[in-house]
Amino acid sequence: MAATPADASSSSSEAVVGGEKSNKMITLISSDGESFEATEEAAKMSVTIKHMIEDGCADDGIPLPNVPAKILSMVIEYCNKHAADADDTNKHVADPADADEDDDNNNNNASAGEKEDLKSFDASLVAVDQATLFDIILAANFLSIKGLLDLACQKVADDIKDKSVEEVREIFKIENDFTKEEEEAVRKENAWAFNE
């Protein structure tokens, strides 16, 4: 059977035939009006975008009113890098009932060296300030990119796990609404979790 490249006239067709992926480019527009291009394969790492493409809404570019340019470029970088092992990952992202996180790491496609490469890429992507990290989480949440959401949430988790209660309040911009007695009671109830 002759391999058919993506049919340009049916712009929202999925050209996946026996493993072939379309090289069609998708335009993503940030909240501040900047346009970014990504391959359809990479863009589909976002379940949100994937659905839009399937519903035929992606023809004139996809506006993302909640994602500023700085963050969108990072997100696209992530998707491009991870799209190579997207075969297995996408299947799991598409099936939300399948919460088996082990499979995300079970890249039969990537060699050991490639995995190391991905790991260090991921680490440097999230080695950013707290505010940017939160923005990435918001974007990954909004766009339904499970891998990126996991990565960013894990980084925040690692950052806060040894922080004091007051430091956590500062990070998340929370006001303490306990009275002194109430806070003391909660602290006592959970004394085992504190060092003092």
Partner: protein, 486 residues
């Protein structure tokens, strides 16, 4: 702006039916958050009152539902995802951050996503015919407990006879399953999860022993780590002894019923051995490591890791710590801890701390896993309690974490001389807290090492020696290894 949130978020977090879907009122905070790092655009910090009004659940008057705004900078779902990835200690400390956080962490629907910690204790009668089970809850001032506190789901199942408690591990309980009435023949084993109300039967390893034969002593351990696998292992040590009698210049195995036929002066030797049997729920099979009687040694060369079994030594007490998917228990009165993997292979022998001082200790001590490290708790003849932590697992370096005298700990004078009058029953898996049963009044107390606080948890109905006090960390995930469900 059209928000594409709703569908996508609900995809990720299917358990969140109770949480309100993102509403228009949440859009401004999210959008503002994106540019929140630009100071001049940052919205004013929401006061608790404002926060409440902007995030009222669709339940209406808000009287029934907790009022929450757990974070101005992230949606609650993301906050839960973050908390699901921090250690249990951090999660429970975070209850102090704000009321919204406390409510979030205590929400029964969300708790399953968060790391689990010590929930409470099961009290299980040791006496076979009594079989009472109780549960005492340490956490949560509110909400119904999902855990079946007297194991009714299991005991009321048809075909379930007598259950003798053996071991627990990470949310699962292991019982020897016996006939309902005397002579309580061993039918097999039962593994259950009181939180998900699932259970499984494990077949007996081999045919039943006739009553008149001496029963080998059995020590059953359960190894289960849901973060690694949904399957479990049973590691069983059975102790047997034989009499070797001289028969025609050779020592042969004597039979029990040869008793009467022994003549004075016959050469004989009594030897014992401990064999290991492992059941894997994945394969559904038992495997055995039994040593030839000829391999039995009289002394134990500590460098020979399996030597303790060949000498017929046994696990000294019920207590066993699971660390790195390995069982750690004290062997006989040798002052050694064996580290045994899930295949029943002894991988390490760790001497208990300061062997020289052991003379002053009441043995055996207590081993526990806490905060990722092996701990050893010793009780001296004068009642002094000492807690040691194995700082270097490979270097076998013990460090004294805490030591407290009897009077300091219990705030009263000791009534007995040098006999044991309290028992350590658990160490908190996530904190520096030790749980002790006071023999003189049967009270279960918790002792917090860092602030020396003592709290009374409850009172046992019978003597401490009559009941298993089982610390319980719930496991909410359903396992395919437990095929029966109530």
């Amino acid at each position: 702006a059209i928000l594409l949130f709703p569908g996508s978020i609900l995809h990720f977090f299917p358990s969140k039916k109770r949480l309100p879907p993102p509403r228009d009122t949440e859009a401004p905070p999210a959008a503002a958050a994106i540019s929140a790092h630009l100071d001049h655009l940052r919205p004013p910090r929401p006061s608790p009152a404002a926060a409440r009004s902007s995030s009222l659940p669709t339940g209406g008057d808000g009287m029934d539902c907790p009022k929450r705004s757990a974070s101005a900078v992230l949606p609650e779902d993301s906050l839960v995802e973050i908390l699901a990835r921090v250690p249990a200690r951090s999660v429970y400390r975070s209850k102090c951050v704000a009321k919204a956080w406390r409510d979030l962490i205590e929400d029964p629907l969300l708790r399953k996503k968060l790391p689990q910690t010590l929930q409470g204790f099961f009290f299980i009668d040791k006496e076979t015919h009594r079989q009472r089970v109780r549960f005492t809850n340490l956490l949560d001032r509110s909400g119904p407990l999902q855990i079946d506190h007297n194991l009714a789901f299991l005991k009321e199942s048809p075909g379930i006879g007598t259950l003798d408690f053996s071991d627990s591990c990470n949310g699962l309980l292991l019982f020897e399953h016996k006939l309902k009435a005397w002579p309580y023949d061993l039918l097999g084993y039962v593994v259950c999860n009181p939180t998900t109300k699932q259970w499984a039967e494990v077949p007996r390893d081999g045919p039943p022993l006739p009553l008149y034969l001496r029963h080998p002593k059995r020590y059953n351990y359960l190894v289960f780590d849901p973060s690694v696998s949904s399957h479990f292992h049973l590691v069983q040590f059975t102790w047997e002894f034989v009499r070797l009698v001289k028969f025609e210049e050779e020592l042969v195995v004597g039979h029990d019923d040869d008793d009467e036929e022994e003549e004075e002066g016959d050469e004989e030797e009594e030897l014992s051995r401990t064999s290991v049997h492992v059941y894997s729920s994945e394969t559904g099979k038992w495997t055995h490591t039994q040593s030839d009687w000829s391999q039995i040694q009289s002394g134990w060369n500590k460098h020979d890791l399996e030597g303790w079994r060949l000498q017929g030594l046994i696990p000294e007490s019920f207590c066993c710590a699971v660390l790195n998917s390995m069982l750690h228990f004290i062997i006989s009165d040798e002052g050694q801890i064996a580290a045994v993997d899930m295949q029943g292979v002894t991988r390490k022998i760790i001497p208990v701390p300061t062997m020289a001082e052991r003379l002053h200790w009441l043995e055996p001590g207590y081993v526990a896993q806490s905060q990722g490290r092996l701990h050893y708790i010793s009780q001296a003849v004068d009642g002094r309690l000492s807690i040691w932590v194995l700082e270097g697992y490979d270097t076998q370096e013990w460090v004294l974490k805490h030591s407290v005298s009897f009077t300091e700990l219990f705030r009263e004078k000791r009534r007995t001389g040098d006999t044991k009058d309290y028992s350590v029953v658990a160490m908190h898996p996530d904190g520096n807290v030790v749980f002790i049963v006071q023999d003189w009044n049967r009270k279960l107390i918790s002792y917090h090492m860092d602030n020396k606080l003592v709290s009374i948890m409850g009172t046992l109905k019978n003597d401490a020696s009559d009941v298993h006090v089982v610390p319980y960390v719930p496991c909410f995930s359903e396992s395919p290894a437990l095929e029966n469900k109530h």
